[in-house]
Assembly symmetry: C2
Homo-oligomer: 495 residues x 2
């Protein structure tokens, strides 16, 4: 022990000079005297015009011409890349699609029409090369969402997916902003839980990979699962906060490879206390949806435009709607979301779609009868029938909804105060209900759930919105795997 | 099938009238003609003075006097409760601590000193009663954090924990705001992963609770775990975005009941591309910590004050620091975090603490020698020694850090470009490093990880901050279980 201390001291003596504030540890690695570093988003909007600047990013295109070399450089800060113009002498065989570069030069007005500003380079340094043979994306090729999905670790380097990720990030901000501005407290509901909120089965169970405790003993003493909903935990909180929300990952062990399912997806969930009717909920659902859509369109105009015009343009020219309504292009669809009518979105009781769909769907499998849940197919038809606008469907048959939905006590129909928000292209976007706050009516199955009703129980309700579905809806993306950074589904968990 | 359709139509006919816009489904439940509803936070600041208003919330205190009844009502929108003054005639045996009430009356200036405004009630309706015998919290008793921790579904009804939850929500906003304002894109890194980033063991494994596929076949085809860090996924993204971050739950299957460990906790993680030195990282770490602290103090002054003055006051009067520095009270500690010196927080190379700690710690077990990692005990001592300020420790021995940390290639010491930020009361708050971007130096073990270095590899680095530790640090909370809504640890996963 003393020997160790002695060794310590001798090492230490030689470095006592390092006991100074600040930069003593930093030895700059590959930079000389450096000009101001600009992000691409700043450079393309003409910041520091005329100044000597440095830009760092990845090459998106290379066009060598006789006298000049043209590059486009992108650093993820915007969809637009910065055009770099250099003397041919600065060309380098390592300048290929995907290579990382650091360019210094002068930012100037561009004589070309396609961009207002460009960087006249006096130095191009290839920071990291990129073998164009092995790199799965090619210059000037437009790769489909299906193709790039094969490369989960590289697809962020395409225009489409980097736009998607910026939109997703901004949509996250939009959701948080909406709730914050409306006085909701954010709760981090747990991922690991001993509850099965929906009672739906399809749970993931969690155990340490190498159990180091006694045989058979569980880590948490009880079976533990990945959450399927934060609702019960939000309900706990709605006994002290009249407005709470959560926004995080939820899980289903559904053995499906479909375009609509993921094993891990994001849910926005809210609970509102002292509700008096379903309207108190539908107002929040509608406001949130509208405000998030508006925020994303305002803050990611270019990125959204890329989707509407180039990535998912099929939606623009799709055939006429089923029920005589013309198909609406994506940008107009989004405008309809934002400019809802004065009374709010259309709202139908569950029985109404029954009439409509029974009259209009002529496939045997699509007949509906009282007590049937609406399938995605029905939901999409209904939305189309109504003119491709968002539609609330309320007051479902009681037996269709989970135990916590509030009984409307209406006879003979017997419905629950539950509501879904259906939107074009997706079907159900949000689902919610008033919660059964009456202890005597709640033949509940969960100890603490009952306790919540014993101590100052209040009428309350809540809903959840599938965040991926929201993105699919406003962008027109068909496959849910294309709106999440790292999709997980059965037989697929790379990285 | 035709029979079903017929039944459908007959049900439908009777309800065709519901096909109208708006409120057709809503039957208001228990309200009469209602005055404007105010949140408690609005009422206590005198909104709608003189007007007839309605306030909903939970009773925090009841004081019946001869002529008047005094209540305090809270709805989670602020620490302050609203004082309600009513004629004794409105008293009700159901008005007890925890009961839910709806009070209508006139908001007026209070003749009493303790609050500027109060509600003169003309109606008090007990929405939900609360049995004072069974309810675990009592009027006028100050319950300890330990006591309330026994009631995970009810502790949000105490002042201390509802303050904590508001602070946590605001701190979340603060973190997102910082990154957004600085051009970072938020990535939802996955919870389920096939990687073990830290190689630390202690993983939770994930499998469907009721396997419905072929025997022995895994749901994801590969073993799948709960993430211990989003770093590798952020590194994927840092090949297209020069600034990315993630903020979400991470997991450790650590069999520990200690004050410092949770099985599920929140991490803020960031990656920055085109770094040139550790300074590029420490600047972000420092800025984020300062800005988040400042934001919380500014937006949750009352709630933070409750902690500093009443919940964790021990920190105010604790004995003199170990190394002759006086102990600093929590509010001043936070001021020091915010007003960092012009050169930034103190930064020491790893070797420096060795000298300091070897000289100053006189317990046999605390001797340090080159190659030893700093234990929490060392970290706290070091921070105290330096005057209870945040301290960066940089350039750890290479062998102490994971494979992805960048080799400083310095001989004979052989250090890695890694850094920890140590803070008072907690020890390590953030840990980060430059990442090894050089393919030839990276004898890596992960397929895709290598691929990231093949296509446009750039110098980059990142760090993670324990979000609970951040809250503990600024609030002076000793037990990590007291700064998270639903703590999970070995043998504990209620709800």
């Amino acid at each position: 022990m003393f020997q160790s201390a002695a060794k310590t001291l001798s090492v230490a003596t030689t470095t006592a000079a390092t006991l100074t504030r600040g930069t003593s540890f930093s030895i700059r690695r590959y930079c000389q005297k450096t000009p101001a570093t600009l992000r691409v988003s700043e450079a393309v909007s003409g910041a520091k015009l005329g100044a000597n600047v440095k830009v760092q990013g990845w090459v998106r295109s290379v066009r060598p011409q006789k006298a000049n070399l043209f590059l486009h450089v992108n650093d993820g800060s915007s969809l637009q890349s910065l055009q770099v113009v250099a003397s041919s002498e600065l060309d380098d065989p390592l300048l290929t699609l995907g290579s990382a570069v650091e360019v210094t030069g002068t930012l100037r007005k561009s004589p070309r029409q396609r961009q207002p500003f460009e960087l006249e380079a006096d130095r191009i340094h290839v920071v990291g090369d990129c073998d164009p043979v092995d790199f799965p994306f090619k210059i000037k090729e437009r790769h489909s969402l299906e193709y790039i999905r094969q490369f989960p670790h590289l697809r962020c380097r395409t225009n489409a997916f980097s736009s998607l990720l910026r939109i997703r990030s901004e949509a996250t901000t939009a959701v948080h902003s909406y709730f914050k501005e409306n006085g909701f407290v954010q709760i981090h509901t747990p991922v690991i839980t001993s509850n099965d909120c929906e009672g739906a089965g399809e749970l993931f169970q969690v155990e340490p990979s190498s159990p180091n405790n006694e045989e058979g003993e569980k880590f948490f003493s009880v079976p533990a699962f990945l959450t399927v909903s934060g609702q019960l935990h939000l309900e706990v909180m709605s006994g002290a906060f009249s407005r709470v929300y959560t926004f995080g990952p939820t899980f289903r062990a559904e053995n499906s490879q479909s375009r609509r399912h993921l094993a891990e997806f994001y849910m926005v969930e809210a609970e509102v206390s002292f509700t008096q009717s379903l309207e108190d909920l539908t107002k929040v659902m509608e406001d949130m949806f509208r405000s998030a859509t508006e925020h994303v369109l305002a803050h990611c105009a270019e990125d959204v435009d890329l989707f509407h015009k180039h990535v998912t343009p099929g939606h623009r020219v799709s055939p006429q709607g089923h029920f005589g309504f013309p198909e609406i292009c994506l940008p107009n669809r989004c405008k309809i979301f934002i400019n809802s009518p004065p009374d709010g979105y259309l709202s139908l009781r569950y029985v109404s779609p029954l009439i409509l769909l029974s009259h209009n769907i002529d496939r045997g499998s699509s007949f509906l009868q009282w007590g049937c849940d609406l399938q995605t197919e029905h939901e999409k038809h209904l939305v189309k029938h109504c003119g491709n606008i968002p539609v609330f469907v309320t007051d479902y048959p009681y037996d269709l909804k989970p135990f916590y939905a509030r009984d409307n006590l209406d006879h003979p129909e017997h419905t629950a105060a539950a509501v879904d928000l259906l939107v074009p292209g997706v079907g159900e976007l949000c689902g919610g209900s008033l919660r059964e706050e009456r202890l005597d009516l709640l033949k509940a199955r969960l100890g603490e759930y009952l306790d919540l009703r014993r101590f100052g129980s209040v009428p309350h309700g809540g809903f959840g919105m599938g965040f991926e579905r929201f993105l699919q809806c406003i962008l027109g993306v068909d496959n849910i795997k294309d709106v999440i950074a790292f999709p997980r589904f059965s037989h697929s968990c790379p990285l």
